[in-house]
């Protein structure tokens, strides 16, 4: 098998392993990761300038921003790699990352981290699984599962330095899914992968929704929009925008209908959608309808009303989009 594979996890690990190998019980905090006013300087460079962030438990959370915005530093602080200069970090309502408390509960794909060059892949993954608190047999089984997930089972005994960049990347992603981590942080998971592999990784991330919290950082805004249900935009070390993807892109507030050459029954649409704001952008031949969502009247209902009117007056529909794209929102906000 080649490539990142769609696999059902071995559910033998039904109980979560904690730092001491015990079972975690009790009510779950609604927030998996919270950063409040976090600052960090590297010499003269202010990497984070008071970042506020809340990642709800069970969400697939996207972290976007330009190069140098502070995404990787945010990840580093969440994982305890980097010490913040100020502010508070909280994981599961239990304080900042502490390996004795969070071992096996937080997993990460670190950016640019290299696996040991001279160690067979299987040995490295078993080592990681054992350090997570798993027993020998369980660790071997989980390592085998991770290799299968990465599509490199046949290379289990190969040394890392003999593998391609793509294979190593997939193994590095798969190691983050060993065990039953509650929070998985993936820093640029699809960068450097071919489109097929990238798509498989996206599918795997989406499949984790509700089972665990996944935070994905990426430059690819279309990817974030497709995969994530929550998003935060970081720029110059601050979170400039955060919320659900639906809210940020206005999916329940705005509908855009692009028309091909032909009639534009604007007045008819305005009459049909009385109470909503209807604008016509001549340059892009797009009707922009802004509405207030309420029970019984969502985006789909507005689209239905608008399309009936347009088609009834022989308009030619080219495209219908709910809200703005994340990319457009990002460009407008930055």
């Amino acid at each position: 098998m080649s490539g990142f594979c769609r696999l059902e996890r071995d559910r033998s690990l039904a109980t979560r392993v904690d730092g001491g190998g015990g079972v975690m019980t009790g009510a779950l905090a609604p927030i998996a990761l919270s950063l409040r006013g976090v600052t960090k300087r590297f010499g003269a460079i202010r990497a984070l300038d008071g970042v506020d962030l809340e990642v709800p438990r069970g969400a697939v959370f996207g972290l976007v921003g330009p190069n140098g915005a502070g995404k990787t530093t945010t990840f580093g602080i969440a994982c305890g790699y980097v010490r913040p200069d100020g502010g508070t970090v909280d994981l599961f309502g239990e304080g900042p990352f502490d390996p004795s408390k969070h071992r096996g509960r937080v997993a990460v794909l670190p950016q640019d981290a290299q696996l040991g060059r001279d160690i067979p892949l299987l040995d490295q993954l078993v080592y990681f699984a054992r350090l997570q608190g798993l027993g020998k047999q369980e660790a071997r089984s989980q390592a085998g599962w991770a290799l299968e997930l990465a599509g490199v089972t046949s290379r289990a005994r190969a040394r890392s330095r003999t593998l391609s960049h793509g294979m190593l990347k997939r193994v590095a992603i798969a190691q983050a899914f060993i065990g039953e981590a509650e929070l998985v942080l993936l820093d640029e998971p699809t960068s450097g992968l071919d489109p097929v592999q990238a798509e498989r990784i996206r599918e795997h991330i989406v499949a984790q929704r509700h089972d665990r919290t996944v935070v994905v950082s990426s430059h690819n805004l279309n990817e974030i929009e497709a995969v994530c249900d929550h998003v935060a935009m970081i720029d110059h070390g601050r979170a400039v925008l955060a919320g659900t993807v639906a809210a940020i892109t206005g999916k329940n507030e705005e509908v855009r209908i692009t028309l091909a050459e032909g009639p534009v029954p604007l007045d008819m649409v305005k009459t049909a959608l009385a109470g909503d704001s209807v604008d016509w952008d001549e340059a892009s031949r797009t009707l922009v309808i802004r509405f207030v969502s309420r029970p019984g009247r969502g985006a789909e209902d507005v689209i239905g009303q608008a399309l009936r009117t347009l088609l009834g007056h022989h308009a030619r529909i080219s495209q219908v989009v709910k809200g703005r794209s994340l990319e457009r929102t990002y460009l407008e906000s930055s």
């Binding site: 790699y81 390996p99 937080v106 990460v108 950016q111």
Partner: protein, 303 residues
């Protein structure tokens, strides 16, 4: 506090480190060179004994022996040699202990105590820094603490060093077996096994020193350089402490000497376990103190 889980993690890291080192080309080359050095040194030692015996035979106008060792054995067991050695050492017990050991054991112990610090600096210096540099450490410290990681890494290095020293001992044993007449297998093996743990304990202090000098370095290359600087400074301080401990600042130099592993080397030649135990405890403590000081900084380091 170190509970059962941190201890387990430390052992896991140490075992993985050992396996990794035995697969790394650079470490293997250093170890192979060290073993080769042991082989050459032991052969040179046998050769020198042979030449000395030939000279002695010529002077006495007797027949040269085919394999060296017979005359040396006679000399070592002579009363005159015993008296000379006793006068050389202030402690008669030490002289008696050394006289009871085959000469190849003494050469093994002397050469190992002299060269093990260099072996450690070459293999252990960049072990943590390299992982920080290539960020491989990030896969590990999300799963265990930094203390467990660092202690495990250097424990692995100590295990590697003890394995290499033992292997070198067997090289000496084999060379002496083949090259020396009247070779005494069991006393030689016994002697090597007496000195092996002493050399390992002595080496452990240098593992700690390597950690102190190198674990917070910016890169693996800087780590290696710093470890050799640390070794040199430690040796110079040891020499100064030895020479000036009776001078004006004698107490200060004695205290400095106590903190330097080189100053404790002579005590490792004492006979019996009880004789070396206090010094061994000091050396292990020194190694741990060095590592702890390095760890205090490492725990605050951004990875």
């Amino acid at each position: 506090m170190i509970g059962p889980t941190p201890f387990r993690d430390m052992l896991l890291v140490a075992w993985f480190e050992l396996k990794e080192m035995l697969r790394t080309r650079r470490a293997l080359v250093v170890i192979a060179l060290y073993l080769l050095g042991g082989l050459v040194a032991s052969r040179v030692f046998v050769g020198v004994i042979g030449r000395l015996e030939d000279v002695a035979a010529d002077m006495l106008q007797t027949t040269r022996t085919a394999t060296p060792g017979a005359l040396t054995r006679q000399v070592l067991h002579s009363d005159a040699y015993r008296e000379a050695l006793v006068r050389l050492f202030p402690n008669r017990n030490v002289a008696d202990f050394l006289l009871g050991l085959p000469p190849i054991v003494l050469f093994f112990a002397w050469s190992s105590l002299a060269f093990v610090p260099f072996l450690i600096m070459m293999t252990a210096a960049d072990t943590v820094t390299q992982e920080v540099q290539d960020r491989g450490i990030r896969f590990v410290v999300i799963r265990t603490g930094r203390v467990e990681f660092v202690l495990g890494k250097y424990l692995g290095q100590a295990l590697l060093m003890s394995f290499v020293v033992l292997l070198t001992g067997f090289v000496y044993l084999a060379v002496a077996w083949r090259g020396l007449q009247g070779f005494e297998f069991w006393p030689t093996l016994d002697g090597i096994l007496i000195f092996w743990p002493r050399i390992v304990v002595y080496g452990f202090a240098f593992v700690g020193l390597a950690g102190l000098c190198a674990m917070n370095a910016r890169s693996a290359a800087v780590a290696r350089a710093l470890s050799f600087v640390g070794l040199t400074v430690s040796w110079v301080l040891g020499e100064m402490a030895y020479r000036w401990s009776d001078g004006i600042f004698g107490a200060a130099w004695t205290a400095i000497g106590f903190l330097v592993p080189f100053s404790h080397k002579a005590a490792l030649w004492r006979p019996g376990v009880a004789g070396v135990l206090p010094e061994c405890a000091v050396l292990v403590a020194l190694g741990l103190v060095y590592l702890s000081v390095g760890l205090v900084m490492f725990r605050r380091k951004d990875l």
